[in-house]
Each structure stands twice: as structure tokens, then as C-alpha cells.
């Protein structure tokens, strides 16, 4: 009763070169109007969506094609004066996910002064629980994604000391599994997205020493399938966004060379939409800004000359991280 391996076939007709101009057009056009269906229906993730599009454009040096002041003005309106947190969209509720995205955008623009920074710090600190974990907002959902959002936000604002870092590390450590990976809560199954969050967290806090480097790196490099693409968990289909979570994780723990970068490149390039531009999760699917950012960022880690160097911990241009004089830890 052998189960066939889940993978896709890379067909000859799929694109093999980077369609840079098309991607620029794709991102620029996305979000031209709230009356556009895809865009209008996704206002509940707007600020994160802005971060995806904007970072993608900056990685290909076209950030100035977006209306900077409009973006900053929008983020200002999304900050909740009471809690200090930032929401996805005006009149929606503040959340840690969008608070991080907003701070990332403002760091790229070098305009962190545009928001109430003390408010953001107060908000992030208010979400830490006694066991060190973080909730995404005041409604109590705990997840290691939020641990990452918290320390990434605070470190970008140079205020990591606003929370109990040791406790936070303790919680993330308690989410480590038998395979060396991490899940969303203690005893939750390992998942590439959450592994990225936990490694990112440990990289920011300088505590990668707790990682079982080679056990985890082996699990991660086993995510690569014959198509070249990476999946997020065993026996799942490959996906461009998982290619980024796995690749950045391997990069943080110094084992990027444990997978085949040539075949991964081939897979990511095959996920480009030759008509509209943009990347999809898999070849032939509908592209979106989320997969476009992670496709470009993954290609950057693989050393694509046309794309600016990306920082694997923050998923932001490396020069921005340098400008902020941040040195997230990586393992050799």
C-alpha cells in the first residue's frame, strides 16, 4: 500500500528566467483600487499585504514607484491610540501581525518617527503572558508566530528590553519537538513556517545555542522534493512560500548548502505567471503578492544578482538591517 509521493512535475514550458519587469508591474497594479475584487476583499490583511508588496519592490529596487506618503499616512491611521497596536486596516482591530508589518515598512522607509513608537512598545509588552509566550491580540490566542512578531518588532525599535526575554526564550524552547523542529505551542507538530518564526526569534534574541542544529537541518533539507520545491511538512506538496520559510531557516542555522539550490531555483522560477507577472504557490495557480515576495526573497538567498540581498531573519533588505545596526545571530 505504498503511498505515492506528493509532488508536482516541472514541465518544459514553465518559465526558466526571472521575469522582473512583469513582477514590478504586477505589484504596482495590485491594489490600485479598493474596487478591485482581490484587493477589496482582503482589507483584513492590508498592512501585511503592503509589507509584502513593498518589500518585494524594494528587493528589485523599484520602491519609489509606490506612493510613499500615502502608505505612511495609512499606517498612521491604523494605529490604535488607546493600545498603541496597529490594525490591518482602518476601523479593524490592532494585532501583533500587522504591528510588525507596519514597523517593517516604516524601517524600510526610514520613517519610524511617523507613528507613536512608545505606544507600539507598550502594546507588544502588554501581550506577553507569565509563561513567556505572546498572544496575537487581547483575545488570547497563543502562538510562537507571535513570539517572533514581538521580538522582531521590538528589536527593530531597539527596545527588546521592554519584555522578559529569558521567559520568552523559555517558552519557545518548550515548543521544540522530537525532530528538532518547532510548532505553534508546546507539543504542536513541527511546521516550516513556525520553525522559521522560532529560529527568527532565537536569531533576534541571540539564543540559537538551544537549537539542535544538525537534527533540525536534516529535517529541513528533507523538505526538498524531486521537483526542487520545498514543502512545509513531510508528505505535503511543495510551495513557494514554504521554500522561503525552509530556506531562510537553513540560512539562519548555516546549512543552506544542504539542499540543491539549482533545482529549487528551477521550481521557484516555474511558479512565475508569464502573463500577469507575480509568483503563485505552484505552477499554474493564481499569483499573489505574498508568494511574489517570498519567491523573490528565496531567489535572493540563492544569490540572484538582479535581486537585492535579503536578511533571512527579518525578511527585509539587508541594507536596512545594516542601517539599523542590527546583527541577528546566524550559526556557522
Amino acid at each position: 500500500m505504498a503511498v505515492p509521493l506528493k509532488d508536482i512535475e516541472i514541465k518544459e514550458e514553465y518559465p526558466k528566467t526571472l521575469l522582473l519587469e512583469k513582477h514590478i508591474k504586477f505589484i504596482k497594479q495590485y491594489g490600485q483600487s479598493e474596487n478591485d475584487f482581490e484587493y477589496g476583499m482582503t482589507d483584513y490583511l492590508r498592512v501585511s499585504g503592503m509589507y509584502w508588496g513593498l518589500t518585494a519592490l524594494e528587493l528589485v529596487d523599484k520602491l519609489d514607484s509606490l506612493p510613499k506618503e500615502e502608505v505612511i499616512g495609512f499606517i498612521q491611521k491604523c494605529q490604535d491610540p488607546e493600545t498603541g497596536g496597529i490594525s490591518a486596516c482602518i476601523d479593524h482591530d490592532p494585532h501583533l501581525l500587522h504591528t510588525l508589518s507596519a514597523v517593517q515598512i516604516l524601517c524600510i522607509y526610514n520613517r519610524i518617527d511617523a507613528i507613536d513608537v512608545e505606544g507600539v512598545i507598550k502594546y507588544v509588552a502588554s501581550l506577553q503572558l507569565p509563561d513567556g509566550s505572546f498572544t496575537g491580540d487581547k483575545w488570547g490566542e497563543v502562538d510562537t508566530r507571535f513570539s517572533f512578531c514581538a521580538v522582531a518588532t521590538l528589536s527593530l525599535l531597539k527596545r527588546l528590553n521592554a519584555i522578559n526575554v529569558d521567559k520568552a526564550v523559555e517558552f519557545v524552547k518548550s515548543c521544540m519537538n522530537f525532530d528538532g523542529g518547532f510548532g505553534s505551542r508546546p507539543k504542536s507538530e513541527s511546521h516550516a513556517g513556525l520553525i522559521y518564526c522560532c529560529l527568527g526569534f532565537l536569531s533576534v534574541t541571540g539564543r540559537l545555542d538551544i537549537v539542535e542544529q544538525d537534527t533540525l537541518a536534516w529535517w529541513l533539507c528533507e523538505r526538498q522534493l524531486s521537483s526542487g520545491g520545498l514543502n512545509g511538512r513531510p508528505e505535503k506538496l511543495p510551495d513557494v512560500c514554504y521554500s522561503w520559510w525552509v530556506l531562510s531557516s537553513l540560512s539562519i542555522i548555516g546549512r543552506l548548502h544542504w539542499i540543491s539550490s539549482e533545482t529549487l531555483k528551477r521550481f521557484i522560477l516555474a511558479c512565475q505567471d508569464t502573463e500577469s507577472g507575480g509568483f503563485a504557490d505552484r505552477p499554474g495557480d493564481i499569483p499573489d503578492p505574498f508568494h511574489t515576495l517570498f519567491g523573490l526573497a528565496a531567489l535572493s538567498l540563492l544569490g540572484f544578482g538582479d535581486i537585492k540581498q535579503v536578511n533571512p531573519t527579518y525578511c527585509m533588505p539587508q541594507y536596512v538591517i545594516d542601517r539599523l545596526q542590527l546583527k541577528p545571530q546566524v550559526l556557522k
Binding site: M41, A88, H92, S188, Q224, S260, D285, I286
Partner: protein
């Protein structure tokens, strides 16, 4: 934005679709406006409340709407508390003295049951929505008479439909804490799931979280793994579990020998099984601290070289170990 296939359409179809989409978008935007503009801390508009349910069934990721519904539930809980004429116990439940109080409690429970049904509707449409799962748990925590047993059975049902849904496994773990299932039962459950489908990484993972392995359990785990890898040596799940079991300090030389011999048998049947070769490397390479003799180094080197050819994607990984063996050889010399 996952798994949506791009389909070729005619111009006519495209226009038709666009029209439909505009309708949907307008309905969404009008709905959101109605809900957000009537939102206030002291009361709620039943019409907005109903619309928010409709929007969530279509898209459970609109997190602000779940928050809005939680606010409404808190209002209902407060109302129920203040309507209780008798002593209040907890979570808005009334002391069962007067008929009137009983009715208040009944009304509240009916309200919460509706909410639970809504999350079920959302989960059936989208079983991987963080918002729906969290909302469900949140309601249960605020429920005056939570039926955790029912939740537990729901988990078992959902896991039979998709045994890889990690949200559902996580929910199951939360409920276990509430109803205090026995460890034996959960081990039995994971064995059942594994026997239904060896290729179920989630069940193997779950198993690893249940207990620390001791001498006795180690033996039975090794048997389970052997059973799985002989059934389907190409499936990866059991091999990951094996690597973990091998790292257990209770593993004896006897265990290793037994395993090594079984793997040799499997290799005779499946000489190109990369997993089997790799497992042999783990068993022999486990004694890192000790000095390996030349034969052992030679055998390991041979295996890694074979792996390089069998599994070229992970060339970097195998080379890493080959290099380490190379320097060991030099040190020995």
C-alpha cells in the same frame, strides 16, 4: 491564496465573473461598514451580528469580526448575570432556584450553542482557519456548561477526515487537559491512526509527545517502526521517528545490533533504499565520542557515497558527513 488554479476563460465568461465579483465585493463592503459603524461597547445591533456570521462563513480570516462577536458574547454573559435574581455562580450561570433564573441560563446556553455551530460551519468550509478554532475554544471557556466530551469526539471525527490537520491536533491537546484522558488511551489512539496510515507524520509526532521512552516502551516502539518500514520503506515518517528513538539514552548495544540486522534484511530486498542506508549510518555513527576503527569508518564512508548518488538533492548534507569522516580518518592515521 493557496491551491487556486488559474483557469482560461472566454471574454464572455470573464465579464460575467467580473459582474459577480463586483456584487460580492459590494455586499462585503456594505456588510463591513454596517457592522463596524454599529459597533459600540454597551449594546449591539442584532442585524449586524447576523451579517458578521454570514461574512465569516465565507471568509473566517476576517479577524476583527471574530473579535466583534466575542464582544457581543461578553455583553450577553453580562446581561445574563444581571438578570439572575439569585446568587450567581460562574460564567453567567444562575443558581437553579427560580424558573426565571433557569430560563435566563437556558437562553444564554442557546446563544452560545449557536455560536459553536457557527464555528463548526466555518471549520467545515475551512478546517485550517486559526480564527475559527480559537473562537471555538474561547466560547467553550466561557460556556457555563461546557461539553468537553463532545469537543473531544469532534476532534476524533475531524482527524479521521484529515489526520494531518495540526489545528485539530492542537485543539485535541487543549481538551485533553480539560477531560483528563488517560495516557494509555492516547497511545492507543495514535497507534490506531498509525495503523490506518503509516504515512502519517502527525500521529508519529503526537506519539513522541505522550511520554518519555523507557526500556519497555522502547522495545515496543522499535517493533512498531520495523513494522512500518517493512510495509513501506519509501515513506519518510517512521524514519524520522526512528532517528529520534535512536537518540534515546536507553538504547542498548543489543537494540542497535538487532536494528542493524533488520535493516540489512530490508537492504537485501531494497538495495536502493536511501532511508535504510541513512538509518545504518545513524546506528553506526551514533558513537561519536568513541574512536571508530578503520573498518567502521570505511563502511560509513561507503554508505554516504552511495547516498550521494541515490539522493543528489541532498549532496551538501551527505558531503558534510563525508568530510567529517575524512578528517577522522586523518586523525586516526
Amino acid at each position: 491564496m493557496h491551491g487556486r488554479l488559474k483557469v482560461r476563460t472566454t471574454e464572455e465568461q470573464r465579464l460575467l465573473k467580473e459582474k459577480e465579483q463586483q456584487k460580492k465585493l459590494t455586499a462585503y463592503q456594505t456588510g463591513m461598514k454596517q457592522i463596524l459603524s454599529t459597533r459600540n461597547p454597551t449594546s449591539y445591533d442584532p442585524k449586524s451580528f447576523a451579517i458578521s456570521a454570514q461574512l465569516l462563513v465565507v471568509n473566517p480570516d476576517i479577524y476583527t469580526l471574530w473579535n466583534y462577536r466575542k464582544e457581543v458574547i461578553l455583553l450577553e454573559l453580562d446581561k445574563s448575570k444581571s438578570e439572575c435574581k439569585d446568587t450567581i455562580i460562574d460564567n453567567g450561570i444562575c443558581d437553579e432556584k427560580s424558573q426565571e433564573s433557569l430560563d435566563v441560563t437556558k437562553g444564554l446556553i442557546k446563544f452560545l450553542e449557536n455560536e459553536i455551530r457557527l464555528t463548526e460551519q466555518c471549520l467545515l468550509a475551512n478546517p485550517k482557519s486559526y480564527g475559527s478554532w480559537h473562537h471555538r475554544y474561547w466560547i467553550m471557556e466561557h460556556h457555563p456548561e461546557p461539553n468537553w466530551q463532545n469537543e473531544f469526539e469532534l476532534c476524533t471525527k475531524y482527524l479521521t477526515m484529515d489526520d494531518r490537520n495540526f489545528h485539530c491536533w492542537d485543539y485535541r491537546r487543549l481538551i485533553l487537559n480539560k477531560i483528563g484522558m488517560s495516557l494509555e488511551d492516547e497511545i492507543k489512539f495514535s497507534t490506531e491512526r498509525i495503523n490506518v496510515n503509516f504515512s502519517n507524520y502527525s500521529s508519529w509526532h503526537y506519539r513522541s509527545t505522550l511520554r518519555k521512552l523507557d526500556k519497555d516502551s522502547l522495545e515496543s516502539e522499535i517493533n512498531l517502526i520495523m513494522n512500518a518500514i517493512f510495509t513501506d520503506p519509501a515513506d519518510s515518517s517512521a524514519w524520522f521517528y526512528l532517528r529520534w528513538v535512536l537518540s534515546n539514552p536507553e538504547m542498548t548495544e543489543g537494540h542497535r545490533k538487532q536494528l542493524s540486522q533488520t535493516l540489512d534484511q530490508l537492504l537485501e530486498l531494497e538495495p536502493d533504499s536511501k532511508w535504510c542506508l541513512l538509518a545504518k549510518c545513524w546506528i553506526n555513527g551514533i558513537k561519536k565520542g568513541e574512536n571508530m576503527n578503520e573498518d567502521q569508518i570505511e563502511e560509513l564512508t561507503e554508505n554516504y557515497k552511495k547516498l550521494l548518488i541515490l539522493d543528489p538533492l541532498r549532496k551538501g548534507f551527505y558531503s558534510h558527513y563525508l568530510n567529517a569522516l575524512e578528517s577522522k580518518k586523518l586523525n586516526n592515521a
